[in-house]
Amino acid sequence: MSDDRSGLEEELRDLARLLDPVPEHLVRQAVSAYAWHTVDAEPAELTFDSFAPEQAALVRGPRGPRLLTFEAPTLTVEIEITECGDTRRLTGRISPPRRAGIEVRRPDRRLHVETDELGRFGCDGLSAGPLGLRCSTAEQTVVTDWVAI
């Protein structure tokens, strides 16, 4: 692939470096994202999203609530996001059901809620943007993948 196309590609690269570099504030954001890293927490992977592109064909018409499932080996977190005007309402459930502290993580703040004995929790008035959850039970701590709500 060492043809004269490489020269053109290199010019394109110059163009991007010059005119569309990674914005500095985004680099800073990515660096400070490390504050969310915790060595002891178990990741819960997003395994279902009713708004995922793959699901789009199945979901037509007005949007209903968005359903998301996060799974760690020993704990599952299911949440439902409902749009209420400019804000979102979150309801969720952990299973197996138990009491847990839930940290609702946003890029700029953390909210704390508790589950009831059935593992249910919720909060209102969330703004649009990235969201992650950290669930602490007596036995373990799980952090979910981040999603944009």
Binding site: L8, F51, D124, W146
Partner: protein
């Protein structure tokens, strides 16, 4: 409903079991293992990169927003060979995995180095998709936040670039489909923001380069604008510094590794032709 909704369990009953959640067997996100398994892109499409989750029918087709492209590229891929010189095969000599492992253990400096190394890749993936300003920021943040949670889980840390590319792509597609901001997005503004936000002459002045070179870059930018969306996507990705590996490109675009080389060649030839004249003759789309 009480007003103290942030501080305790919600007081109204949750939906019946079964209404929350869904088919849990349908993995939506590419995991590191997925990325690894798919990266080699076996000829014939067995390794089709876009099929992280399978389509709605569970058939594993790459139907996530680039269906036509993917189908076309799959045909390309049949005849294509595995390219050589894939940087992910090791020229970085394990340096990347060392950074991932160190960051996983809590080394903030290693994290910073990872961000520095892969920011241009993630940025190019995001730029290769057409997103509003707000979605750009969401996708960017989510991609890096996700990595913080998955550092320990990564099975092949040397391929963290492919993981980032895959994550950014999936989040970009999700944002495209479900953007919470309904403002329509102007192609020119998002695909090639330099057209609106900067003039090459200005930037050149800052970098003290010659006017002739500025003019050439401006024409290059204009020619780029006239390319098909498929070409603009691939080329925008290739514009990252350092250039992405083929497996990173494959993850970033849902394109089989084998079709990247031929597509790149075609797109660069188109670009050269577009620069050679025919100004404004066929506006894209």
């Amino acid at each position: 409903m009480d007003s103290d909704s942030l501080s305790g369990p919600i007081s109204d009953p949750l939906p019946e079991p079964g209404t929350i959640g869904g088919p849990a067997d349908r993995a939506v996100e590419g995991t590191i293992e997925d990325a690894r398994a798919r990266a080699p892109a076996a000829p014939g499409g067995a390794g089709t990169a876009g099929a992280a989750a399978g389509g709605p029918g569970g058939s594993g087709d790459p139907a996530d927003g680039v269906t036509e492209d993917a189908a076309e590229e799959e045909r390309d891929a049949v005849a294509a060979e595995e390219p050589d010189g894939d940087p992910s095969c090791g020229p970085e000599g394990g340096a990347v995995s060392a950074l991932v492992n160190a960051a996983a253990r809590g080394d903030a400096t290693a994290w910073e180095a990872l961000v520095e190394r892969f920011s241009p890749l993630v940025w190019s993936v995001i730029r290769a998709h057409r997103l509003s300003e707000a979605d750009v920021e969401d996708v960017w943040q989510i991609t890096w936040f996700r990595l913080t949670a998955n550092l320990q889980k990564i099975k092949d840390p040397e391929r963290v670039g492919s993981w980032l590319a895959s994550t950014a792509r999936h989040e970009a597609l999700r944002a495209l489909r479900w953007s919470r901001r309904v403002t329509p997005v102007d192609d020119v503004d998002t695909v090639s923001p330099w057209v609106n936000h900067h003039s090459p002459e200005q930037a050149m002045l800052e970098s003290e380069r010659a006017a002739a070179e500025a003019d050439r870059l401006r024409r290059l930018g204009e020619a780029f604008e006239r390319l098909s969306e498929r070409c603009r996507r691939l080329l925008r990705l290739l514009m990252a510094t350092p250039p992405p590996s083929y497996s990173e490109i494959s993850e970033a675009l849902g394109m089989p590794v084998g079709s990247i080389g031929p597509t790149r060649a075609r797109c660069l030839d188109c670009l050269r032709r577009a620069m050679g004249g025919e100004e404004g003759r066929h506006r894209r789309r």
